[in-house]
């Protein structure tokens, strides 16, 4: 989807601010969100690509103000609700009870999507499978990045679409295609190519001299040029 998450090339965000002696986590809640997500990732509830897509679905203004881990929190809540494991009204009620000091309502353990039914279990990671693939392109081939604008999840960045580059590296393993797995439309195992794009082709007269962007793209995102 064409959303605010696809930031390559945008103007207006100002300087990059680096913090001296930055802590691993800036607050307790950030550490909890990150690490609860790590635990949930092992529970066969969702896959990586739908998690990323859930973040992309965050309203633009919220995406820019929630903070990095605020986005993860948003995705966690939405996915847990969608899978009927923790429902949105339950979270809101718990928030209200905690803030008002009211007695806490225990969740009903029955009649929800947890424990997961066998057929609902999914693999989170496993981006790569041990099977052979036959790459369509070879290092040195000229390729065009497909000009596509799917409404769902994709890893083709907007700035690279319709640009011509050269295959720098063939990752000839069987990689999951995120664009379809995010929507449970299959893993579509395929090679991933490192493609070298010239800054002048990407940014025209505003390009810097002798600069190149290397981007990894699935085979389905490329066509011969």
């Amino acid at each position: 989807m064409n959303g605010i998450h696809d930031m390559g090339g945008l103007h207006g965000f100002g300087p990059v601010i680096r913090e001296e002696d930055e802590p691993v986590f800036h607050s307790y809640w950030e550490s909890r969100v990150f690490c609860i997500t790590q635990v949930l990732d092992t529970k066969e509830i969702w896959n990586l690509d739908e998690h990323r897509h859930e973040i992309e679905l965050m309203p633009t203004a919220d995406y820019l103000t929630a903070g990095y881990y605020g986005r993860w929190l948003f995705a966690m809540e939405r996915l847990l609700d969608r899978k009927d494991i923790v429902r949105a009204p339950e979270v809101q009620r718990r928030v209200d009870e905690m803030q008002s000091g009211a007695s806490i309502t225990a969740p009903d353990l029955q009649g929800r999507g947890w424990p997961l039914a066998e057929e609902s279990k999914v693999r989170w990671g496993a981006w790569r499978h041990d099977q052979s693939v036959s790459p369509r392109f070879a290092a040195g081939d000229r390729v065009r990045v497909r000009n596509i604008h799917p409404a769902g999840h994709t890893r083709v960045t907007a700035y690279a679409r319709d640009k011509v580059g050269v295959v720098d590296r063939v990752n000839a393993e069987a990689w999951v295609f995120p664009d379809t797995r995010a929507h449970y439309r299959g893993e579509n195992l395929q090679p991933v190519y490192g493609v070298r794009l010239a800054a002048t082709d990407l940014w025209g007269p505003q390009a810097e001299a002798d600069a190149w962007v290397y981007i990894d793209l699935s085979e389905d995102h490329l066509e011969p040029a």
Partner: protein, 197 residues
Amino acid sequence: MDKNPPKEKPWQAVRTEAVESLLVELGVIDSARVDEIVRHYEEKVGPKGGARVVARAWVDPDFKQRLLADGLAACAELGLGGPETEKLHVVENSATVHNAVVCTLCSCYPWPILGVPPAWYKSSAYRSRMVREPRALLGEMGLTLDPSVEVRVWDSVSEIRYLVLPERPAGTESCSEEQLAALVTRDSMIGVAKVTV
């Protein structure tokens, strides 16, 4: 880390507490396991791991060859590896080529080798600008590249992760591997700084 947040909690803190308590009561997660993972990221992994890899590559040409051929296998020799990194490409800086890494779509980063990324790496400013004006941005960040140096920006939007092998600084010929590792910064392994003595 602030384990005793102030009374006025941000909304994210309140909601996180609510979600965690429900997940625990429903038996989905165990908070002790979450604690363990927090400690893992706060204490066990971090840029020191990557620095050991770089220092080894500087002193051991055979290791460097293996590292450039298969980054993950070479890192495993030093006991490094783990989730979120399926394949690791190591890109080498030289007098004529400078590499830097970004993820314009989210924040992809080699966690097992460098730990969790710093906030600036995940910032809108870095993600938007690094692919479009790397020389200007690196200059602002304190790294001015000679015009004769080719700049390569790696937009790591797939499941392949990147580690920059920075140049070994002059004047370190007599340094031990351990001393060299102490010089290697996280930023130099992302490619926004050089290693200096």
